[in-house]
């Protein structure tokens, strides 16, 4: 039977008095207030005075050590503590304090000795020393001995009603460790921390530890509340700031870097902060900065597992096996059962698109520590990313059993349960998994486009990735998001794990929000660049090439330039080449991610235009060979990054010269634009049109168009001009405007539909059909679109197109299914596909046996003789 805390009702309900030590006006209270408020120098001075005066022992000596430690003066703290010990005849009252200082500076043997002495002698804080001894043993791989120590805390709690706040918190921390084996004990840990805070509501360290528990159990909100309370009282509290930074990373916020740097402003030798900063740099693919920070962590604390772990991860990303082995061996010398190294490596590998590596590392994590649920979770999630669905599911089941709080695992298992409703369709090089409700419809288009993309990119990259490429299409964005990151709320439309892609179906978003054809093309491009480089391509390059590939695929595909991008360029907000990835991973303003995509695509476009696509392939070769960006540019272009930044700036200046000069001092969205600017002309034109003076609006709109011909926003002058011309009965110029507009905007459904109508009016049914085919990639669910396209295809003799559209209409589950089947049969028949026509017309007549037109078609098909694969009807 599980041993649990016997939490008496009285203990839970009755508020405990505040900390007696902080009451009154004693000097120790003044010092304590100063340290809690983050006035560390004042606290140091106050404690030192008390120590010198020989009063308030041992609280003053402990406080002095804490205050000095908080600002990174570890040597001073150790010296002061040892002096106090000497002054008090070798007392054990400071051994717990000394042990912590020794541990934090890497003297683990000295720390253990101190903790053991405090326990042996029975110091007043022996229980706290016992907790630290347990932790030290646990982080040294001696798990069984550590568990024995932690287990005793339950008995201590149950037998000792008068525990102090810090002792109650120690019980909570012990339960956190025990929770690894019995997750139900995390609830008891929460109760112990709550009780500790009732005993001393102002103790910042208890709040930080409590917050860390919440964060470890994936509850960012609760964690943030606790860290925030501490920071409100002490804006410089290193533990709370680091906790908040970890929370920001958890939430994907760009504040993580800044918060960690704030820790280092108070304590420049905080090993934990340096190691965490290193991990943040690794996420940014900034390996050099990561190594620098990892080194600082190790210098501050040579026994820092996090520091050595970050060092190993950096070496792995740098493809330096010797450095990796050194760091790895150091970790295992400190902790032979350390799975966190492999967990970190798995996570860094995942974030750097090395999914197979992530799988391998997570497996090694489980081998090291079979109770590392994080390893199971990382293994399961990354197995799914490389397409190993069944093993991934089994592993996640195991992860969830060990850690039922893991929201990523829970969400992903729920998602996998829903896979039953997905249907698989295949083409020569692709395997599609699409929701059964829309598989027939989307497959009709997706398979052909995917194969086209594969052929185009194979020729372009002179490379073919492993096949089949698996593409999962999710009708609910939340499911796609869970598939990608384990949580809802991801802003992306698609993701590539190499030869496994996932994306939103057009059903996941409102009409006009995205183009599912260009999104698929984009993700397939990633499969090529990731495969080409053995998953060692920087994100900016892979994204830039994917957007550029879109532009080569269809007119209008690949982001059009937005005024705010040009404004950001003009205002110098766009990052230099060296920091391109920051714009993707840690955006500094809301639109920076979109700007980063476009900027990266312009760089790739420039390289292709000026150096040829061969240069792009040579860049990819460089990354595959393990070079970093600086070395790649040196090898391929014989140029440094600064020179290339200048070259890109000139390219953008030239490419958008007109628009940049017409941008005015404020963007089109800002108020009161310069009347001569693009925004000014556009606004005046819109005003005139809005007040019924369409003819007067035309010159302004024409001028706006000339000033910014690439603008494809919803208020584009071309769109307004098209409307004016249509209303005035001038289909030719209206169509010309819409042709220009749809060549820039891939998402505007109505513009496509209006252009299709105009093309038909102008006697160009083929052009009309082509526009409608483009519109299918915006909204494939529009019945009227498919009906028009089917009709146009039939009229223009495009028998294949007619069959495709009739299939699409059938897949849209029409109410009149019999008629849809009959029309499909007729299209098949016209295309000479008599077997398919027969099957379809039988389907129609099965529903509606009296359907005369279908009966006549069936008879006609039979009169024409049997076709291959037709069974002969039984004679009656």
């Amino acid at each position: 039977m599980r041993r649990r805390l016997l939490m008496g009702l009285l203990a839970l309900a009755a508020p405990l008095p505040g900390c007696a030590q902080t009451e009154g006006t004693s000097d120790i209270a003044v010092a304590e207030a100063a340290i809690r408020a983050g006035r560390y120098e004042e606290a140091i001075s106050a404690y030192r005075s008390l120590v010198r005066a020989g009063v308030a022992f041992p609280a003053a000596s402990r406080g002095l050590a804490r205050a000095l430690g908080a600002v990174g003066r570890y040597e001073d703290a150790i010296e002061a503590t040892r002096s106090s010990v000497a002054a008090h005849e070798g007392t054990a009252e400071l051994d717990h304090t000394l042990g912590i200082l020794l541990r934090d500076t890497g003297d683990l043997a000295g720390a253990e000795e101190s903790f053991r002495r405090a326990i042996q002698v029975g110091a007043s804080d022996a229980l706290l020393a016992e907790l630290e001894l347990g932790r030290l043993l646990h982080h040294r791989g001696e798990h069984e001995q550590a568990v024995g120590i932690f287990d005793r805390f339950i008995d201590v709690y149950n037998a000792s009603p008068g525990l102090s706040a810090q002792e109650l918190a120690a019980v909570g921390t012990a339960l956190v460790y025990l929770g690894i084996r019995d997750p139900a004990l995390f609830h008891d840990a929460v109760r112990a921390y709550e009780e500790a805070l009732r005993a001393d509501p102002g103790d910042p360290d208890i709040k930080v530890r409590f917050g860390e528990l919440f964060l470890a159990k994936y509850d960012s909100r609760e964690a943030g509340g606790l860290f925030g309370e501490v920071i409100a009282a002490n804006p410089n509290h290193p533990g709370a700031l680091l906790g908040m930074a970890r929370r920001a990373k958890f939430d994907g916020s760009s504040e993580a870097l800044e918060l960690t740097q704030r820790v280092l402003e108070t304590n420049s030798t905080d090993a934990g902060a340096h190691a965490f900063l290193a991990r943040l740099f690794l996420d940014l693919e900034d390996v050099a900065s990561a190594e620098e920070e990892a080194q600082k962590a190790i210098e501050a604390n040579p026994a820092s597992l996090d520091g050595w772990t970050a060092m190993a991860a950096a070496a792995h990303l740098r493809d330096d096996p010797d450095a990796f082995a050194r760091a790895r061996d150091r970790v295992f010398a400190l902790d032979p059962r350390n799975a966190d190294l492999y967990n970190a490596l798995a996570e860094v590998s995942y974030r750097n698109h090395r999914y197979a590596d992530a799988v391998s590392f997570a497996r090694q994590g489980i081998e090291r520590d079979p109770l590392s649920w994080q390893s199971y979770s990382l293994l399961g999630l990354n197995l799914l990313r490389v397409g190993e669905i069944e093993e991934g599911r089994r592993t996640l089941d195991a992860a969830f059993e060990g850690d039922p709080y893991n929201v990523w695992v829970k969400n992903t298992l729920d998602l996998l349960d829903g896979f039953d409703r997905f249907r698989e369709t295949r083409s020569p090089r692709f395997q599609f998994l699409i929701d059964g409700g829309e598989s027939d419809l989307l497959s009709t288009y997706a398979l052909g486009l995917a194969e086209e993309a594969f052929d185009a990119m194979s020729a372009r990259y002179e490379y073919t990735p492993p096949t089949p490429i698996r593409i999962e299409v999710y009708p609910r964005h939340a499911d796609f998001s869970v598939r990608t990151v384990g949580l809802a709320g991801l802003g992306a439309l698609g993701v590539s794990f190499g030869s496994v892609l996932a994306m939103d179906s057009p059903a996941a978003r409102s009409q006009g929000q995205f183009n599912w054809g260009s999104t698929m093309w984009h993700e397939i491009s990633h499969a090529f660049t990731l495969g080409y480089t053995d998953h060692d391509v920087p994100r900016w390059l892979s994204e830039g090439l994917a957007v550029l590939d879109e532009r080569h695929a269809r007119p209008g595909w690949g982001s059009d330039v937005a005024p705010d991008f040009l404004a950001a360029f003009r205002d110098g907000q766009l990052p230099s080449l060296e920091r391109f990835n920051y714009g993707f991973v840690r955006p500094r303003y809301p639109r920076q991610v979109q700007h980063s995509y476009y900027l990266a695509s312009l760089l790739c476009e420039m390289i292709e235009a000026e150096e040829g696509f061969d240069a792009v392939r040579r860049m990819l070769d460089g990354y595959r060979d393990g070079l970093d960006t600086e070395a790649v540019f040196e090898r391929v272009f014989d140029a440094d990054l600064t020179a290339f930044d200048e070259r890109l700036e000139r390219y953008i200046q030239t490419r958008f010269a007109t628009a940049l000069s017409a941008l005015g001092s404020a963007g089109p969205e800002a108020g009161a634009p310069d009347p001569e600017s693009f925004a000014g002309q556009l606004r005046r034109g819109a005003e005139l049109y809005g007040t019924g003076r369409a003819a007067e609006a035309i010159p302004y709109l024409e001028r706006a168009k000339t000033l910014f011909p690439e603008y494809a926003g919803p208020d584009a002058p071309a769109l307004m001009l098209a409307r004016i011309h249509r209303e005035a009965g001038r289909p030719e110029p209206a169509a010309a405007e819409l042709r220009a507009y749809t060549a820039l905007n891939e998402n505007h459904f109505q513009a496509h539909m209006q252009l299709a109508e105009l093309e038909e009016t102008l006697g160009s049914p083929r052009a009309s059909a082509a526009v409608l085919e483009s519109a299918v990639w915006i909204d494939p669910y529009d019945l009227a679109l498919h009906e028009r396209l089917a009709d146009l295809s039939e009229r223009t003799g495009d028998v294949a197109g007619a069959v495709r559209e009739r299939k699409a209409l059938l897949a849209l589950d029409p109410v009149d299914r019999a008629e849809a089947l009959f029309l499909l049969a007729r299209a098949h028949h016209a295309a000479g596909q008599r077997a398919e026509a027969r099957r379809a017309v039988l389907g129609a007549l099965e529903i509606a046996p009296g359907y005369e037109a279908a009966l006549e078609l069936l008879l006609r098909i039979r009169e024409e003789g049997p076709s291959d694969g037709d069974p002969q009807p039984a004679s009656r």
Binding site: V815, D816, P849, A853, E856
Partner: protein
Amino acid sequence: MSRCLLWVIGQPVVLASVALMLGVGGARGQSTHLLVVSGLGGEPAYKDLFYNQATTLLDAARERWGLSDAQLSWLAEDQSSAPDRIVARSTRENVHSRIGELAGRVDSQDQVLIVLIGHGTQSGGESKINLPGPDLTASDLASWLDAFPTQTVAIVNTSSASGGFLPVLSRERRIVVTATRSARERNRTHFGSFFVNAFSGEGADADKDERVSLLEAFSYARLEVERLYSRDNRLQTEHALLDDDGDGEGSMEPGLDAGDGRLASRFFLAVERPAVAEQAVDDPELASLLERKRELENAVVDLRARKDEMDPGAYETELEALLLELASTNRAIRERDERP
């Protein structure tokens, strides 16, 4: 595709006999009577919507499905909006008296369709539709409909919160359609517009028998409602139900194979296709062909019912054989009809 045209390999061919087969007035034997009750609109937009729904349905019933004026009744909020057509204001009392009047003149085997259009609510545990004056409750209607002891009665309540009517009205020989599955679905409904479209427009005649059954109209409206919400990326706030087996439990997807749907599949505005039968009386050969056609159509229906028990290949072979004979018979009917 027009009901009067038959597309044969891309060419429209006028088929006189098919045209004659359309439901026209003067059905022999069984007749269908339609009572439309349109309630309070409140806002002008709803007044217009309810008016248009009612007139569209009544026009279709008369002009397309051949019901005579005597078979049609309309009670509405504002009699002055169409004094020639609205027989009385749609008060609770007038609805009661109109149902009583109708019960007094219908034949024992006739069918009655009552369509309620308006805003629905639930209060005091009672589902209601808002009428001028006191509202009409489900219990009111249930007791008044006892006046039809032998007739098949269909009640279609297109209002919001109409789901509460279903368990109260459910009986043997009774079809109950509600736009919502419970009284808790209180948002405005779109079911009514699509239900009316099923009779006035194209696309609801799923089995191509040139008539629209109540089951076909329900299925059409249900699917179009789903499509509307899906297209607009909105959470669907109305889920229509049909009950016709008297168990008080509505089905969202009724059908011939489900508990609900059989009675509704035989309920039409146009009850028969008498012109064909009348013509056949004078032409024994045509009568024989028509009889054979009916047999074959029934054989297809029977075969379809056994589909799940059969080998797929055998099923398809047998189906095709039946359909080929049906096609030949159909061609013979047409050629006979085209003879001078």
